[in-house]
């Protein structure tokens, strides 16, 4: 029987500033436009885990354990940070939703013991979100 997928949402606020040090001011402004300024977002991270139902608990994953992983590895690190300055992984990378998802996958996936990480979604604004299904 194919397994159900449970999704839990987490919130954090962070600031970021795009900028490619190998580009001129003009090119940075042309490509990144207002994202070349420091600004910020209320991010929503949706973590989806897939797995068989444990018949004793009725659950596919214990959400308290999932909360502990996601909060300690991702939410508490990201929350109230300036991403590209405060988190080592982002040195030399742009603080985009796409890159945040690659980083968050590396932080969360190996730590899940019940079920497997199925998808991460990062909601950046009311009209933009990005999905990532892992490195395959």
């Amino acid at each position: 029987m194919p397994d159900p997928i449970i999704t839990k949402k987490y919130h954090f606020c962070a600031s970021h500033k795009y900028g490619n040090p190998y580009w001129s001011e003009e090119k940075n402004r042309e490509v990144f436009d207002k994202d070349y300024n420091t600004h910020g977002h209320n991010y929503i991270l949706e973590v989806s885990v897939r797995g068989p139902i444990d018949p004793e608990s009725g659950w596919l994953v214990d959400l308290q354990k999932l909360n502990n992983i996601v909060r300690s590895k991702v939410v508490d690190v990201m929350d109230h940070s300036q991403i590209e300055l405060d988190i080592e992984w982002f040195k030399g990378k742009q603080p985009s939703s796409e890159n945040i998802l690659v980083w968050a996958w590396e932080e969360i996936a190996p730590n899940i013991e019940q079920g497997i990480l199925h998808r991460l979604r990062l909601v950046e604004t009311h009209s933009i979100h990005t999905d990532y299904y892992g490195p395959g």
Copy 2:
């Protein structure tokens, strides 16, 4: 041409209480925590049907017919119930979102005559939802 998928949302309110009769009070409280108390939710059930577009109506499914199935088989049964006490199927099972989806699939899927049931999503709280694509 791959078929489009239409999704319709339904609402119901219900109460439930987790508890495994083969476990001690301590283990029930440890695993289920506050879910070992009777409590309740405003559930949202999202029903997705996939199928070819009928060229005469422009629709892949007649939503009035879908409403009739989902309301009579699932929503009217669940609404204002205490799930594990009032619905026979849940005797000896936990009233989790995962199990509600397995039950709802059995109730809805065989009754759809136009298109096929693609996915059920159950939104349990503002931050938790579960998806199920059927027993395969």
Copy 3:
């Protein structure tokens, strides 16, 4: 200068069952309909505080202090309860949104030290909410 009003939202899940012991089964069923069954909701409580801006912090109230009051006095008491059975105040009263607001006002208002409680809103379902401005 009239004071701004800040609003913070809190979530809890609870079950309840309406029923007037002085009424017949028929009248209870006629008036309360499906609410005469145990069922439940994901409630959202919105707490609004009004007051002058503290020029040193820029805030009208310290939200950590407000969180402590609202969580200890209301959210932790309500969450995962069956309201009319578990909370003494509701003995002999219906567990309606209207009554929950009267109770919550008594619990929160006297404990706020910065600003004053302006309004409580209780969202009971996706289409129903109730506001209360206190006993005047």
Copy 4:
């Protein structure tokens, strides 16, 4: 490495009226019911693009370029239109969400130069949306 998928939401308002000229008034009213009247919706179109992350920008697609395509080809055409009267493609077809998605895919997919169009979702009301993954 599998590619992330970014989704951007767009809004437009339009009116439409269903009706099959080969059917009797009775059959039109029976099948389409109130949809046989002119009425309208606030539509939300969600456009999802999949592709590898550009290491220089951190993005899989430049959203300004995507906005230009979607607005000029779909949103500005649909907005404040009566769909089946004003847009040539819908002559002889029903102005259903299913058909709007087939039309919008033809308008958007060939114009995307970075990444590929992964999915279109059209939200028609607060409880109905339709997904389309293209003609395959």
Copy 5:
């Protein structure tokens, strides 16, 4: 004790077209812009009633009775209509949210027997809504 206020949301879809017959085409297009075309919306009508709590039911108003009034007098009339063509009251008036609220107030307020109509809110799009507290 000041009375609580309960709010119930209702949905309807309708189309409308602005246009002042005493104005030139140019002025109509200048003032109404794209609203001079037939288009439509998913409206949400929020009906707020204020009143004392009935100690026997715990409610300030019986929502089933309120539903009957609002649906028969407003929602069923508006739903799937072209407002300025189908509803007599709007002959010679613009089908704006402001005018819809004046009309809806006249339809609902005199029919409420328990409590009094406190406010009507009409949500026209995801970013626009209008409130009306009655003719005073």
Copy 6:
């Protein structure tokens, strides 16, 4: 006849950092906690205007004119800024929602020519918003 009130929502993203230069590091950290770091939000500004209905247009305010005022005076200034560094008014003040509303009122209220500014609401996160009715 009391006047209706129309509300329009606007979005902007910004970063900010709290900090009182007359306080020690310890006190800044104690009072502002994680807000003493640079972080950011997706803000929603709701602008409410109250006034009589113009019988010729059916509107109480021309939203295109309102949009021009709010965007040029507030949204374009705030969007993608670091508030306390980039906007002169905030020198020596905390970049709180309370203060943003006082500033925005001064920018918007004197420029509205049809109707009067009734309320500003600033939504800072999914669970916090602040209202301001002006300096009275």
